[in-house]
């Protein structure tokens, strides 16, 4: 049996109710993401980028279709199992950082493991040093700039050493210079073997990704992948996996 991709979504449909109307966020969307890839998902607001990330990250369930991550059908897991799955396999990075305002930078990094018996505080300190905040351990989020807060969020996403990092508009709330540094950090993590899936409007972020997928109205409209031989085209396929 051939190896399955790290992330496999098949024929995903996801709808939301907004007032009295129903919005189709994902419309029979399928994509395979291999381990170690850096995928940029691009598309206009409301195209389904965040919905896709939420489904891959075990935050939400599809109306129909399957999400398989590390060979686990995560849409079939119960609430508590999905929380555990997220904790150990997924690192989330949000546009608005979502840090806890009353906790210092280092405590924010430690939040995902505060209920664990083993608390690798040294690792949290190393991660903050790695993202360039070695002198900001005891600063509250309110004392940090947007870029610094995003770095804390990246360190927090890495504390459990997840295989997959999901970032929703990670550069959407920071200046272009800091965005460039954040993207370099993502590239570095990808080079170390982390799989990154980034929902973004930012061409700078998309330009550094190995695979770029464009979606509109919940469907894949175009995809491009970097390869050793240059660019490969991905085309949408109903009900299927990745095509090259």
């Amino acid at each position: 049996m051939p190896d399955r991709p790290l992330i496999e979504t098949v024929d995903l449909v996801k709808t939301y109710r907004v007032g009295s109307s129903t919005v189709k966020a994902l419309d029979h969307f399928s994509i395979d993401i291999e381990e170690g890839e850096m995928v940029a998902i691009m598309g206009p607001s409301g195209s389904g980028k965040t919905s896709l990330l939420n489904l891959i990250g075990a935050l939400d369930r599809p109306d129909s279709g399957t999400v398989r991550v590390k060979n686990v059908e995560i849409d079939r897991l119960g609430e508590e199992q999905r929380a555990r799955f997220r904790k150990h396999n997924i690192g989330f990075i949000f546009q608005f950082f979502n840090l806890i305002p009353s906790l210092t930078a280092i405590e924010n990094v430690l939040v995902p493991i505060m209920f664990e018996k083993e608390k690798p505080t040294r690792k949290a300190a190393d991660l903050l040093e790695r993202v360039g905040l070695g002198d900001r351990f005891d600063h509250l989020p309110g004392m940090l700039s947007g870029g610094e807060r995003q770095r804390v969020a990246i360190a927090r996403a890495l504390i459990n050493d997840p295989l997959i990092i999901l970032a929703d508009e990670p550069t959407g709330n920071i200046d272009s210079e800091t965005a460039r540094e954040i993207v370099s950090l993502f590239k570095e993590l990808n080079d170390e073997g982390k799989t990154l899936v980034l929902a973004t409007h930012d061409r700078l972020v998309a330009g550094r990704a190995k695979v770029m997928v464009k979606i509109r109205d919940g469907r894949m409209v175009r995809g491009k992948a970097h390869s050793r031989d240059g660019m490969m085209s991905l085309s949408p396929k109903e009900g299927g996996g990745r095509e090259k």
Binding site: T50, N54, L59, E80, N98, L103, V111, M114, D138
Partner: protein
């Protein structure tokens, strides 16, 4: 001068680190304390409310107990005019003490429910983010229960401490106003203290049900979407 500042900074830094020089660990209790302190004005008002109700409850319990003990001692012999008057007060108290207890309990439930609901609504994004990064809804509920139980415990303890001072003072003052000119006996007994603690725990448990249901039923996706 600069040396002194340097020493102070080093000492401050050392306090924030463990004995091995590593940064201090973050525990759920540490998180609860930090969050309770962040919302200190609301916490203060909730503690004051619970303390006042606990004080009112223990005051009436002490009056009830005092009258009970008085009539146990006066059961034999011809009743005096004062004991006749006190007996009337006791008859009223017998009805009122239950009503006051129920009222204190209901108000305490409302205080807990109100504070916890505001906390959950106000910290919706924070609690949703915690769930998104892998903290389960049971663990998030534990954080909310912990902070509310801290408030209830502080409120009950404050009420009991205040009663320790107030009841002997009222006993000295003879409670002439409350007793309609009579020397109303007050007895501070351990059963009243235990009842007050149980009252606090009961109201905490009941008042927390609606906010906890909010947490369990809420979806982190919806919370994050609303925030975006």
């Amino acid at each position: 001068m600069r040396d002194r500042e340097g020493r102070l900074a080093t000492r401050k830094k050392a306090r924030k680190r463990g004995p091995d020089g590593d940064p201090k660990r973050l525990t759920p209790l540490g998180y609860i304390l930090r969050e309770t302190w962040r919302n200190r004005s609301r916490t203060f008002f909730s503690i004051t409310g619970i303390a006042s109700l606990a004080l009112l409850f223990i005051l009436f319990s002490s009056m009830d107990k005092g009258l009970e003990d008085y009539f146990e001692d006066e059961s034999e012999g011809v009743p005096s005019d004062e004991s006749k008057e006190l007996f009337k007060v006791k008859q009223v108290m017998d009805d009122w003490v239950y009503l006051i207890s129920v009222l204190c309990w209901a108000l305490m439930v409302l205080v807990v429910m109100n504070t916890a609901t505001i906390t959950v609504v106000e910290r919706k994004l924070e609690l949703g983010s915690l769930r998104a990064i892998g903290i389960s809804s049971v663990q998030v509920s534990f954080l909310v229960i912990g902070s509310m139980m801290l408030i209830v415990a502080a409120g009950i303890a404050s009420g009991l401490l205040a009663s320790l001072v107030l009841i002997p003072l009222l006993d000295i003052a003879n409670l002439s106003m409350l007793g309609g000119g009579l020397d109303l006996p007050l007895v501070y007994d351990p059963v009243s203290i235990l009842n007050t603690i149980l009252l606090g725990l009961g109201s905490g448990a009941l008042g927390l049900i609606p906010p906890l249901l909010m947490i369990i039923r809420s979806s982190p996706v919806e919370v994050l979407r609303d925030a975006g």
